[in-house]
């Protein structure tokens, strides 16, 4: 069960290019957390009222939770100023997480959509390949992923791996003989990438679980701030809307309307 609590930071690191990692200790949260879930991180600065949702990147054990995030605004900047021993207020684990289907998992991560796939790959147990898309050759978490399976890298500027998105890399791999048979796709990344994944799986008769992002206020399903459009009427909302924070962030790509 999710709880809001003040926790102690046990590790911080600057992964370069504005990407930071932060590990905190919270055994009760770590115990129930699943890959694909996220935590709400609250700012200490009282002028910033809303939580920052950050995916769980890894559960390194010992009750630790590892987050990897990009500094984009005032909240993540505040976070990046923290040091081991400092406190932060968090609430989690939140959301549904990725479902395990006992099938070969192909992971597709773009940018800060990469972190949540790490714990997934660790736990999913079935030899998987990870397609990781970066802006440039300033990569992060690459070595972590390499521990668990094959890694295919792409970059927007072509400075490392395939030039293009993870979809480009996946299509290249498939045409080079990489088999998607019996595979399930797990994706996280920017909107256009997820649209691409949805289209790809529809064209290829595959299943994809995609993790969506939306602006949130509560993070626990109460405010209806974070909805995405669904193909069918959603049981909770009574309309063609689902809550990304509570019904997601992970959805079967077939169920959501990304248009």
């Amino acid at each position: 069960m999710a709880l809001q609590t003040r926790v102690k930071i046990t590790k911080t690191a600057d992964l370069g290019e504005g990407i930071f990692e932060l590990v905190f200790s919270c055994p009760v949260m770590a115990e129930s957390a699943r890959p694909g879930q996220f935590v709400n991180v609250y700012c200490d600065d009282a002028s910033r009222m809303l939580p920052r949702p950050i995916s769980i990147c890894e559960l390194p054990g010992d009750g630790q939770i590892r987050l990897v995030y990009r500094v984009v605004g005032a909240g993540t900047k505040e976070l990046a100023g923290k040091h081991p021993g400092d406190g932060i207020t968090v609430l989690g684990p939140l959301g549904n997480g990725y479902p395990f289907e006992g099938k070969r998992a192909v992971l597709l991560g773009g940018g800060v959509g990469i972190p949540p796939l790490l714990e997934l790959e660790k736990q999913i147990g079935i030899p998987a390949a990870a397609f990781l898309g970066y802006r440039s050759d300033k990569t992060f978490l690459l070595d972590d992923f390499r521990k668990y399976g094959a890694v295919y890298v792409s970059s927007d500027d072509g400075s490392i791996g395939v030039k293009g998105t993870v979809i480009t890399a996946l299509e290249r791999a498939v045409s080079d003989g990489f088999s998607l048979e019996g595979a399930v796709l797990y994706a996280c990344g920017p909107g256009p990438m997820l649209k691409g994944v949805k289209a790809f799986t529809e064209n290829n008769g595959l299943t994809a679980y995609i993790s969506l992002e939306e602006r949130m206020a509560c993070g626990i399903g109460a405010c209806l701030g974070c909805v995405c459009k669904t193909m069918e009427v959603n049981g909770h909302s009574g309309v063609k809307n689902a809550r990304v924070c509570k019904d997601g962030p992970v959805f079967d790509a077939r169920e959501v309307d990304l248009s």
Binding site: Q4, C218, G221, C223
Partner: protein
């Protein structure tokens, strides 16, 4: 010294303490019940409900602002049927009063919704007249005194429960609006709803909200809310539910001293899911520490 009295009464309905939650910030209590013992709230105020399900606005629907936020949820709701079947029975399991927030696109829709609630086991109706009046070209009911008075009267006639009219702060004179709904027969007033605001992303040169404008809430607006509660309290005799930026017991006590009989905690729930009970606990502590026997002695005490 824990013999202080925190009970207040709104239109004949007794709340064990003067704290409820602001409509739309707490769902129907279900999600927050993991963080808050609902039995410890004077009442739970539900998200606005309409006769039919509403899909609400496109996203982004929320944006952060200094000490506040903008929202343009667009009153998404599952409609009165689902609400009555699912949310009322859930809330009735707790020892707390139920305030149902009602919205509509036309006067008839309001009245129809109020009528559908007549047989429901709920305690108070809060009529949100800040909805856009689709028939009148999108102006809000809550900014024209005559319209507000008429819709109050019609809701009052259709309702079995006491009717609280929820006022918009986007008006020149809140006292005038308060008097209008009192004249229409309102059993109470709740205020303030959100101030209309806008945020622009200068990097993308787009509106932060898909709806362009949204409602500003949170501590940023608290001073405006206190002023309006004060003005309304001096304009009418019916009780007031005060809200707008309440995050601490102090904020709540300010409202009460200004004239509110009870208060709602809204946006603060997003920063601290237990904010509402913390406010309730803090009010009790204040009464104890200041040797105030009865919360009612504080209502409107600063003149």
């Amino acid at each position: 010294m824990s013999q202080v009295n925190t009970e207040v009464s709104i239109a004949g309905v007794t709340l064990k303490n003067p704290v409820t939650v602001a409509s739309g910030t707490f769902g129907s209590g279900q999600e927050f019940s993991a963080f808050v013992d609902l039995n410890r709230l004077g009442a739970v105020t539900t998200k606005g409900v309409a006769v039919e399900p509403w899909a609400g606005n496109p996203t982004p629907r929320v944006a952060e602002t200094p000490s506040g936020m903008l929202n343009a949820i667009g009153l998404q709701n599952p409609g009165i049927d689902t609400f009555l079947k699912r949310d009322v029975p859930f809330l009735r399991k707790f020892d707390t009063k139920i305030i149902v927030n009602v919205c509509g696109h036309s006067e008839d829709e309001y009245v129809e919704c109020v009528r559908r609630l007549a047989d429901a086991d709920v305690d108070l109706l809060e009529i949100n007249i800040s909805c856009p009046n689709v028939k009148a070209g999108g102006i809000t009911f809550g900014t024209v005194p005559e319209v507000a008075q008429r819709i109050t009267r019609r809701c009052r006639e259709a309702a079995r429960q006491p009717v609280i009219m929820k006022l918009s702060p986007n008006v020149t004179s809140i006292a005038e609006m308060a008097k209008a709904v009192e004249a229409g027969g309102a059993d109470g007033i709740s205020l303030i709803n959100t101030l209309t605001g806008m945020k622009i992303n200068v990097r993308t040169r787009t509106f932060a909200l898909a709806n362009k404008t949204g409602g500003l809430s949170g501590p940023a607006i608290h001073p405006v809310a206190v002023r309006m509660v004060y003005e309304a309290a001096h304009a009418v005799k019916i009780p007031i539910i005060g809200m707008g930026g309440i995050a601490t017991a102090e904020d709540a006590l300010e409202m009460i001293l200004a004239g509110a009989t009870c208060v709602s905690v809204g946006t603060a729930n997003f920063r601290d899911p237990a904010a509402s009970v913390r406010v309730a606990d803090g009010i009790r502590e204040y009464l104890e520490q200041t040797h105030t026997a009865d919360i009612k002695d504080l209502i409107g005490a600063v003149k």
